[in-house]
Symmetry: C2
Subunit: 469 residues, 2 copies
């Protein structure tokens, strides 16, 4: 049949050269054969798909649209036409032998095209649907393409298609009959392996490190470029960090730094932020070591952990979780302070009778209970930690007005009754704010102490490093 | 100048009618004036934008591309051309007076276009960039449109543009000179207010209810349709539920049900799932009431809360948080069981000496410590709750092999040393799995009891209801 069309084409060309009307001759000599061929076996690239619905723009070239309808092979075909191109609708029905649903749009009204496509997708978005942009004005084709690629995000069964030709006859200004084919357009995501990096980056910037890591991991296979595995390690480091698994985070970070030093990766974009990265890995190491030794004397470890908890508290939308992070940061900072400044441990404070009396007095003031009703705890919880520091004349806690501490008392006592600890209460945003204020003051004070001691951890940014692409 | 072009056009038409070559006459009579006009004041719709870079496809109509380059007005212009259209590059340079960077692509090679556009975006993605699809084959235009609308997600400063004309002269088969304009295409998201519903739905399906609620809320203003505010209430209900704020979740759900009963909203898609919705709101009410009264005798409340905690534990990727949810669910279920079956409360179990001795014996077996080293706690924690139920010959806990309980002991004791409670340990996934298994058994047993009591809460799905669009 391909051969037959070739012979026909030459005959047609001769007839035009002899002065015939090219349009009339085409319809008479060529088109019936081309149509018959497509009705029988449409040419589709890369391969025919079972579309349930097709949507077409229609301009002044109904032949292309007829081929597109036959190529898509859908049971339901919608045609977006202009007032002018309405004249071809009957021909479309007759020559394709299919029912056509016609929708009129303005020839430059892109918004109308969006609206119609969206309406059709609302109705048919769950079945394979072809959007054909072959015919129509630039506005119509561009609008259909825009709609197609935009809505694919929400309706993954939508494909954009068009009728192309492999050979154009410049003399006749027409595609050579028989070289037409319906192309099913890949989207850039399918065609380019490296596009996943953009999705990974999107997740990374939103702090969804586990998902970002999965994308980066998949890219190694798809692109054959091991450079992506360094990004995978980076995102896994942050994922573990935000899950408070510092040992794992440190292991990932250390491995990443060592790979970045290999010859093969000296030019890797992450090496541009090596200094930031190294300082983060150092912080992870210090916290990880602190957690392993459980030694509150390691003030730098407490500092790194408390800053991480504060960050997570700020990022967390759910008060019930944000409060937990903040409570724990506060407890750690108070415990560290008690040990560093006064050599006492919360689980065994070893108070002298005189200290015990002072603590009882402070607790009585803060809780507004008579002294005789105050019970001294064996292990110090949040409130008694705070009270003991004040009783010991800690500068930060002594200079606070009593009213502020009285306000905090309820918040601190609420910890145990929080829904995720042992109680049934949901912390309120206001309570968390008060907690955070105190955490901030304690952190600043600890920072000043660490600065005097020449710590290298001050000012380490907890923000994920830029990816460099 | 517009008037001048009109007169020129008529003169040109006459010249063609008199038998002149249309192409040659156009270039001689019309084009210089049109070009002069666009060099001075390009026509751009809806209004000119300050593009830094423009990218164009080039086919056999260099005039349109020249207008597009002038209309975009960028300092850097890239032109994707085919081998055939390379011949026009010099003309583009001369007539636009701008440097043009040429990139050759195959005329049907869509992937090459994607690759080139991505390469250019990697380089210029942070500045306003125009992708012009006016000229070139369908494959080239479609490829550029696909790339443009796909990459806008990641590079929001990209715009897709094309040169349109308001008037086409059918006799001359050309746009009437002076009616051309560069159109900056809106994307469907900007053009159609209701598209935000798709983004909202995407967040809803991922369980990101707070973000979904923000989108639904914004839609009321954008579309003027109050129907979206019902979706906002729905998503806010789930957001509060997942933040364990049952009182707020119940308030939102109750308000939503009441609005769905109003005449105006009887046809609202959410009414299709009214039964599911009502059962969820009932569950929220029961839990909310339980939390308010803090009465563990309200078994249905414990049931609803424990199921919610289990769901959140399963959805949570971070072990440190997943463990907290599971521990709390387990504690609640054990406390409820102790009260419902044996009338004892964890905070004051009131054991007889005989029961105390039995508890000591069971604790000694489970922890593998000599009985004399076992200390009986005042308030029962997880492990002692479990042990007491076994000591009281609770059927579920008595029939468990001792080895299983011994395995659990470490997990239960680890709760207090968890990083977010009072300790510095990170729970491991294996520990959480063991916890969840026990939660599951206790829940099933509670369900059996509630079924006997004819509870209406059994089998209520915790899954968000379908949105109906």
């Amino acid at each position: 049949m391909q051969e037959e069309l070739k012979i026909l084409w030459e005959a047609y060309k001769q007839a035009v050269r002899s002065g015939g009307n090219p349009q009339a001759l085409y319809r008479e000599m060529v088109w019936p054969h081309l149509l018959a061929r497509w009705r029988e076996a449409p040419q589709v690239y890369p391969e025919p798909e079972a579309f349930a619905v097709s949507v077409h723009t229609l301009g002044t070239s109904p032949e292309a649209t007829i081929l597109a309808i036959l190529g898509a092979g859908a049971e339901q075909a919608y045609v977006l036409h202009t007032r002018e191109s309405a004249q071809y609708l009957d021909r479309l029905r007759v020559e394709t032998g299919r029912p056509i649903q016609a929708i009129e749009v303005g020839k430059s009204d892109v918004t109308a095209i969006y609206r119609e496509v969206k309406r059709l997708l609302d109705r048919h978005g769950d079945v394979p649907l072809a959007l054909d942009l072959t015919s129509g004005t630039k506005a119509m084709s561009a609008g259909l393409a825009a709609a197609g690629f935009f809505f694919r995000r929400f309706y993954p069964k939508v494909r954009v298609v068009y009728v192309d030709n492999e050979d154009y006859d410049p003399e006749l200004r027409r595609p050579r009959a028989g070289t037409e084919r319906l192309i099913i357009l890949k989207d850039p995501h399918e065609a380019l392996g490296e596009v996943d990096a953009l999705f990974a980056k999107e997740f990374y910037q939103k702090g969804e490190f586990t998902r970002a890591a999965a994308y980066f991991g998949g890219m190694v296979g798809r692109t054959g470029n091991q450079g992506w595995s360094l990004y995978q390690a980076l995102t896994e480091m942050y994922a573990a960090w935000h899950a408070l698994d510092f040992a794992e985070a440190h292991r990932k970070g250390k491995g990443l730094l060592s790979r970045l030093s290999e010859n093969a990766w000296l030019d890797h974009p992450l090496n541009k932020n090596r200094a930031s990265l190294r300082s983060q890995v150092d912080l992870l190491e210090v916290v990880s070591h602190f957690l392993k030794t459980q030694d509150l004397g390691r003030s730098e470890g407490v500092y790194g952990l408390a800053r991480s908890l504060r960050l997570l508290s700020e990022r967390e939308e759910r008060p019930v979780l944000a409060a937990l992070y903040a409570y724990r940061a506060l407890e750690l900072l108070l415990q560290e302070r008690l040990l560093a400044r006064y050599g006492r441990r919360a689980e065994e404070p070893g108070l002298t009778p005189e200290e015990g009396a002072r603590l009882r007095k402070v607790l009585s003031e803060i809780t507004r209970k008579p002294e005789e009703e105050v019970e001294l705890p064996q292990k110090l919880g949040l409130l008694s930690l705070l009270a003991l520091l004040r009783a010991l004349e800690d500068p930060l806690l002594s200079r606070k007005p009593l009213s502020e501490l009285q306000g905090l008392a309820g918040v601190l006592q609420a910890r145990n009754s929080a829904l995720l600890i042992h109680g049934l209460d949901v912390p309120k945003e206001g309570q968390i704010k008060a907690l955070k204020g105190l955490v901030q003051e304690l952190l600043q004070d600890l920072e000043t102490r660490l600065r005097r001691e020449g710590s290298g951890l001050l000012g380490v940014s907890l923000e994920p490093v830029p990816l460099g692409f």
